[in-house]
């Protein structure tokens, strides 16, 4: 919501996990189905279905795993983990082709998007509406606090650097993060996405690292991270750079 929407690209580019029901159009042997399903694990080529939002051009996607959870007659319940942009409908269809008689997807549910899973903090629209009611009419914000995840959780899976209070505001104005501002860091490689955090744990920006983190111990100056997306509003922290000019 609001500032946190800037983090959505990070989440939509992260790995996904789905549970889907496939209906096979004929009776099949379990061994045969398992063997075919296993062929879909790894790199696959996929042409998006007719009704799709992307250009229908064959593209390569990685499927990490497919587990057959349950079968009932011609219905197969599968759990699939894959790269974003993999069409489950197409996987079902293609499995059907290899089986020789066709298959299609009946139902689909995404169970994980990046770090957000079904198991943690999943809420319904009803719960949101009730929590909002409690907040607005009963002045009780505890339910709302349980629902709203601080946006910082979105950067859970990427390396982080913690910076000095003085360096915060410059970054919200688009400056690069230079070595003197860094207080602590997690290990990262050059060119990786890195989250810039304050000492309080707030996210300031996400950027691309300019060096390898093991160089940080030795360098005293130079660019560490080039911000790509600034999350924090300007002037929350005081201007650190003006002070330096006077010194």
């Amino acid at each position: 919501m609001e500032n946190a929407t800037k983090l959505m690209s990070l989440i939509s580019k992260a790995g996904k996990e789905y549970v889907c029901i496939m209906q096979v159009h004929c009776d099949y042997k379990m061994d045969e189905l398992k063997e075919i399903v296993n062929q879909f694990i790894g790199e696959i080529y996929q042409r998006p279905p007719v009704r799709s939002s992307v250009k229908r051009r064959t593209r390569k996607r990685r499927v990490y795993s497919i587990d057959i959870l349950e079968t009932e007659g011609r219905l197969v319940l599968m759990k699939i983990a894959s790269e974003p942009g993999t069409y489950m409908r197409k996987i079902c269809h293609d499995i059907g082709i290899l089986l020789g008689c066709g298959a299609h997807m009946r139902e689909l549910r995404r169970t994980r998007s990046g770090i957000f899973t079904e198991d943690s903090n999943l809420v319904t629209l009803h719960e949101i509406s009730e929590a909002l009611y409690m907040y607005k009419h009963c002045k009780d914000e505890s339910d709302l606090r349980r629902i709203l995840l601080p946006m910082e959780f979105a950067v859970c899976g990427i390396p982080k650097v913690v910076i000095d209070d003085d360096a915060v505001n410059a970054i919200t104005y688009g400056a690069t993060l230079n070595a003197p501002g860094v207080v602590a860091f997690q290990n990262f490689k050059k060119g990786e996405n890195v989250a810039i955090m304050t000492l309080k744990g707030e996210i300031v920006a996400i950027g691309e690292s300019n060096i390898n983190s093991n160089e940080l111990q030795n360098v005293k100056k130079g660019i560490v991270v080039k911000p790509k997306r600034v999350l924090m509003e300007r002037d929350v922290y005081p201007k650190g750079w003006k002070k330096n000019e006077k010194d």
Partner: protein, 83 residues
């Protein structure tokens, strides 16, 4: 260093050790600890892990949430089936 930073990594079982370069203090006058933000600030800097009902599209649900909270911007993390 504030313990909330460790809580972030714990959230998704991310392990990457911290290297501390130097000691530094933060001034409580500026910014907020993410888990202690006033609710109005949290509202503008939060994510909801929403269990979308079957039927309405992700865009529709995002729009409803936007109206419910009376916010300017609400996004969603991608649709299952693009139509």
């Amino acid at each position: 260093m504030y313990k909330f930073l460790e809580k972030i990594d714990y959230f998704c079982n991310y392990s990457n050790s911290w290297n501390i370069l130097r000691e530094a203090q933060t001034d409580d006058k500026y910014g907020f600890y993410p888990d202690k933000r006033p609710i109005e600030v949290l509202l503008r800097n939060a994510i909801i892990n929403l269990d979308k009902p079957a039927g309405p599209t992700s865009h529709e649900v995002a729009y409803w949430v936007k109206k419910m909270f009376n916010l300017n911007k609400v996004g969603h993390g991608g649709t299952l089936e693009h139509v």
